[in-house]
Amino acid sequence: MPESFILIPGRTSRQGTTLSEGKSTAGYIEEISTLQMAAEDMQRLELEDGDLVRVYNDVGEITVPCKAARGDELPPGLLFISYGDQSSRLMGGDTHGSGMPDSKGLDVFLEPATAPATAPTAAPTAAPTAAPTAPTSSESPE
């Protein structure tokens, strides 16, 4: 059963260093394709570091490995992923007249997955549109 979360894409040191090494390097691809979660959320969903999760909204979907965030960096209900090809697949084209798409604080659903729906590479391919199912919390995606 999918649960609703708020996704924060952002910068990390490793994303910055591997970016200079090249976007096709294993380090960069791993960094932008790993989802960080609060340890409590992982425990509740019976997830372990490296398990695949499917994250989706009304724009697109990604299937990526997850790992526990350091210490108390993430509160429960919040997800983090380094900026890049994967996070952008969940970003809509509409900027609401601002020029800036909603790029942080994205409403998404998450559920454990078994196989990647989209290969975690930097190659741009069309992301399938997933129809969101009913959220399990009171805050539904827009």
Binding site: T17, S20, M100, A127
Partner: protein, 468 residues
Amino acid sequence: MSTPEPSNTAAPAAPASSSESSSELRVIEDATCTFCGCVCDDMVLTVEGNRITKAKNACVLGKAWFFNHHIEDRPEALIDGEPAGYDAAMDRAAEILLSAKFPLTYGLSDTTSEAQRVAVAITDWIGGIIDTTTSVCHGPSGIAFQGVGEVTCSLGEVKNRADYVIFWGGNPAESHPRHFTKYSLMPKGEFVPRGRKDRTAVLIDVRKTKSAKAVDHFLQVKPRRDFELAWALRALARGLELDESIEETTGIKLEKLHEIMDGMKRAKFGVILFGMGVTMTRGKHLNSEAILALARDMNQHTRWNAKPMRGHGNVTGADNVVTWSTGFPFGVHLGSGFPRFNPGEFTASDVLARGEADAALIIASDPMSNFSQPARDHLASIPSVVLDPKLSDTARTAAVAFTVSTYGINTGGTVYRMDDIPIPLRPAFESPFKSDLEILRGIESRIRQIQLADVSLDKSDETSADVA
């Protein structure tokens, strides 16, 4: 508007000549790092041949930048994926851009201001849209500046005066690693002689990032509640009463907000340094406006400023150049013969996602890997001209892809630090590849030759008709 060639810009500093650079070890002092908006200009680079082997004073991001930009074995250019020379590629680029009805120029944050200036000129000659990565960075703050203004200062003033520093919606420890030590927290300044001991530091963020360890107060705001938090602090600044329910709204206890506001009022010189956690979240320019208005309001009590934490090396230069060329900072349409600014209408994400642009000139940016899927799909479907030192996803899909030298490492010029201070580059070694500036001048020159030839033909037609 610049003339086609030669440009009247000052000649950029020349890199060490290739004859010097065989395997001789050289040291470049006061070199400039262009990875992030700090634009640190105290680098000491050791160069062996065509490779930087040491980068003293560089942070982890700077080291990765310097150590990974060496000369790659690639063709000068690709036309439809096939290797080509610069001349043929510039001819084809001019042809594509002149054939377009609604061309888009985009990127520009990782190149020199001299090149940015020529990109604006090209866009004007072809009647296109000029937009920069600002629109997906601090573009909302640019909109907010027009709404409420910006009480601002330089990072030098922050270093020498700031005794109360608020980081809001950013993680400088990872995105701008030397900001704390060079400007905002640790340095001893004229009016903060004990450095960190003379400063109070606050971090406001939805995540307890690495930056939280560096501050005195961490306020974990609820996601998408930055506006409400800024508005609550504005109310307290004005002495208004707030309900305890503000904790439910923002995640921060009222008592804590009072404590922070008391400290802000006691400060002699305060600054709010805000990041993309503010501009990329729902509310966007309204979030920036609220923070800028808070800084403005605080000047009823003491001196306060607000500054955006800018990202890529010369994104601030892009704002400056586009502004002094067109009157607006980004998202400018030049197709009507005069500049029109309208975020949402003339910004790259929008004109691509809506399928409007019919050609693109992309400089030093990789929208194919970080734009929305509809925008990427459209960009892949139109002819594009791409300038990049690396073979990016955007370069891979380009009709014409130029391999260019890397600014700051191979190419001189000017870069603006995040506080609008222009800084010269001191390149380390020569590249066999041309710079963005040289390629853009070549394209501009070709565009003007074709346009002027067309004008001459029109005139001769008119003369013939008159005679007849």
